[in-house]
Structure formats: C-alpha cells, structure tokens
C-alpha cells in the first residue's frame, strides 16, 4: 500500500480533498496520513500531491508484515514469553538476561529481513 503523509497545512488540505474525492482508493486514514491501495491510480494521486507540495508530502510504500516470514523464531518466542511473564514490572532487558532470549541491543542492530525466515510447516 502507499502511505502518504502531509507536513504542511496546504498539503494536509489537498490530501483531505483527495481522500474525500477518492474514498474507494483509501484503505484507512489517520489525521494527516492516508493509506492508499497499491494501484497506479493511487500512485498517480500521491505523485500529484508531491508535484504540488514537494517535500511537504512523504510517500512510502508499505509491505504486509508476516512474522512467520520476516522475523526469526527467537524474536517471536521472545515476544510470546515476555507477554506471558508472571511479574508485570520486569523490563524486557532484565527478563531476557541469563536466558536464551535475544537482548534488545542485538535486536536493534539487526535489520528486519524480507521473507527470509519462512519455513513451510511439516
């Protein structure tokens, strides 16, 4: 999908107008950001906005997020086990200490892969 964000009042107004005029292309909208369907028409609208407002319009392409495809097993396990912890007040870095769970810094240093962790179920 295309995420379009407005950074000035005029850009926000034009984005609102586009959102209202082409509701069918809009997946969701939040304040001054709109998520458009990934179509050439939506790209056309996004480019039109950028042609008019320049850098005051940010356009990003989003990808669906599937943790089974793009996140290593260790990270998935970490999330599950941390949310199932018994003591609410324990911060993650302490929870992960002395376990086989990944520490926050190593996760911060590892860029998220695209679909490289996918292993079909047996």
């Amino acid at each position: 999908m295309l995420l379009v964000i407005a950074y000035t009042r005029p850009a926000r107004q034009t984005l609102r107008n586009v959102r209202r005029a082409h509701e069918n292309s809009v997946v969701r909208s939040f304040g001054r950001a709109v998520l458009f369907e990934a179509t050439e028409f939506a790209a056309f609208q996004a480019l039109r906005l950028r042609a008019r407002h320049g850098e005051a319009v940010q356009v990003e392409r989003t990808h669906p997020f599937n943790e089974f495809a793009s996140v290593p097993e260790s990270v998935r396990q970490a999330a599950k086990r941390y949310e199932a912890r018994e003591q609410d007040a324990v911060p993650y870095h302490r929870f992960a200490n002395d376990t086989d769970l990944p520490d926050p810094d190593s996760m911060k240093g590892a860029e998220l892969g695209t679909d490289r962790y996918y292993t079909p179920r047996e």
């Binding site: 950074y7 000035t8 009042r9 926000r12 001054r32 320049g54 850098e55 005051a56 940010q58």
Partner: protein
C-alpha cells in the same frame, strides 16, 4: 470618537467632509480601492484620489457595503472588537506562539534538488553494488585459476574491486546523509505545523470570546441601523446573527472603529449625513 475629515478628489475637483456623495454611478469596489491605497485610481477617464486615515482590519469586512455582498459575520464582529482595542485571555499565548513561529526557519520552497540527489544516490548505490559483485566474481575466478599464469589479471580484478567498493561506500554515505537531512527538514515542517495548528485553535477561541462579549451589543446595533422590512429569516430558529449581510455589516460598522471612510452603495439611509451619524464613521455614498 470624532471621526476624521476626509478629502475626496475627482480629477482636480476636491471636496472635504465626513459625509460625501460621489455624484456619478461608479463601481463601489473602485472607490473602496481608492480608500485603501495612497495612489489615485483610474475612474472613467479621470482620477479618483481619497485622503483618509489608513483603514484597519475591520475595514476589509465592512468598508464597502453593497447589496449582494457576503459577510462572515462572527469574524467581522470579532475584528470590530479588536478595532476598539478589546483583548482576550488568549492574546498573550497567541503572541508567544506567533513569535515562536516567526523564529523558525522558513520552509524551503524548492527541494527538487534534494530529491534528485536522493534518487541519484539510490540508483548509483544499486549500480555500484552490482559492479562490486561482478568484480568479486572476477577475483574469485582468477584465484581459482590453479596454474597462476595470469597474476596480472588477478591484480587488476582486485584493484577494480577495491575502487568500486570505495565508491560504493561513499555513495551509500551520501545517500544516508541526504536521507537524514530530509528527515530533519520534515521534523522542522512538523514543528511548524504544530505551531500553526495551535495558533489557529487559539484564534478561533479568541474570536468566540470577542463574539460572546459583543453579542448583545450587536443585537442592539442591528435594531439601531435601518433594515429592510420584513427582515427575511435564513433559518427556522432566528438568532442574533440571522440577519442579511448588509444589515449585519451596518451594525458591525457602528460597533467598530473603522477610521477610514465606509463606501456605501445601498439606499438604507436618507442621506450620507444620516449614515455618518448612525455609523459614526466617515461615509462616501455612491
């Protein structure tokens, strides 16, 4: 407040007074332009010059009153309050926020250069990455060549690999720099937008404060200016602001301090003098 004497000159014929009539059919907008600017305006083969105090901001709303005019009544009424020196509890914060906004760097109007730089660096990085891979392949192929007969070609391949790698790293750095610059510029835009939104909200609050303060006075003024009979109602539930634009403009002109003359192109008053007495401002009747 004594309203000032104005001078109205058509060609070389000048008249002075507080309630003047322009003895010919002219576009009121042209006369209003002559009120608002120091230079004379062209008027049917001659020139019209008006000497009067500089109009304040409420003049923009009710400085030219004619049938068919539109009027944002609440905004105009708030400006009339301002023209009399009324203040609101929001003014101090508004001043601070406006000062903070003025201190921000102005947004760059044309950032196409930056976008080109990012696009170029992105494309270049991709190209160079491929060349690095190719060069690496060539080095590997030469090394695996057991007889070692072609050491020169291996050296060449290593040399090229190192050059391309250096360029790739430099381009990647440039790309990272361009991207972080862009993020900073957008951070600044975001800060500006936040201030602008807060200012707009406070301006709305200040306006309703002034309107609330002047509501009763406005209702009285509407009764004191000549209106058309019967007054048409625009809604089922008539409120103080449910009046036609001309009546509202006359009432607001009576409340506010315009100092500059009002250009009147309606026939509500028997004479310019009567209009002057009712509206307490200099009048130019057309």
């Amino acid at each position: 407040m004594a309203s000032p004497i104005i001078t109205l000159a058509v060609g070389s014929l000048a008249r002075h007074g507080r309630a003047l009539r322009l003895g010919r059919a002219v576009d009121p907008a042209v006369v209003c332009a002559a009120v608002r600017q120091a230079d004379p305006v062209a008027l049917g083969g001659t020139e019209l010059a008006i000497e009067a105090p500089t109009p304040g901001s409420v003049h923009e709303f009710v400085g030219c009153i004619h049938p068919g005019m539109g009027l944002r009544i609440r905004t105009a009424l708030a400006q009339a309050g301002r023209s009399r020196g009324l203040s609101t509890p929001h003014d101090e914060t508004l001043d601070d926020l406006r000062a903070a906004l003025a201190k921000l760097d102005p947004p760059q109007s044309d950032t196409a250069d930056h976008r080109h730089a990012v696009a170029e660096a992105t494309a270049e990085t991709g190209r160079l990455r491929e060349r690095v891979a190719t060069a690496r392949g060539r080095v590997a192929a030469q090394e695996n060549d057991d007889d070692g007969s072609d050491r020169e070609r291996l050296a060449d391949a290593i040399q090229e690999l190192s050059e391309v790698e250096t360029r790739e790293a430099a381009t990647r750095e440039r790309l990272a720099r361009e991207r972080s610059d862009r993020r900073r510029r957008r951070d600044r835009l975001e800060r500006r937008l936040e201030l602008e939104d807060r200012i707009a909200n406070l301006e709305r609050a200040a306006r309703s404060h002034l309107v609330d303060h002047l509501r009763e006075e406005f209702t009285r003024a509407v009764a004191q200016v000549p209106s058309i009979e019967p007054a048409p109602s625009h809604t089922d539930e008539p409120g103080p602001f449910d009046v036609d634009p001309v009546t509202a403009a006359l009432a607001i002109a009576r409340i506010g301090d315009l100092s500059a003359p009002i250009v009147l192109a309606c026939d509500r008053f028997v004479s310019p003098q009567a209009a002057h007495e009712c509206l307490r401002s200099p009048i130019i009747q057309v």
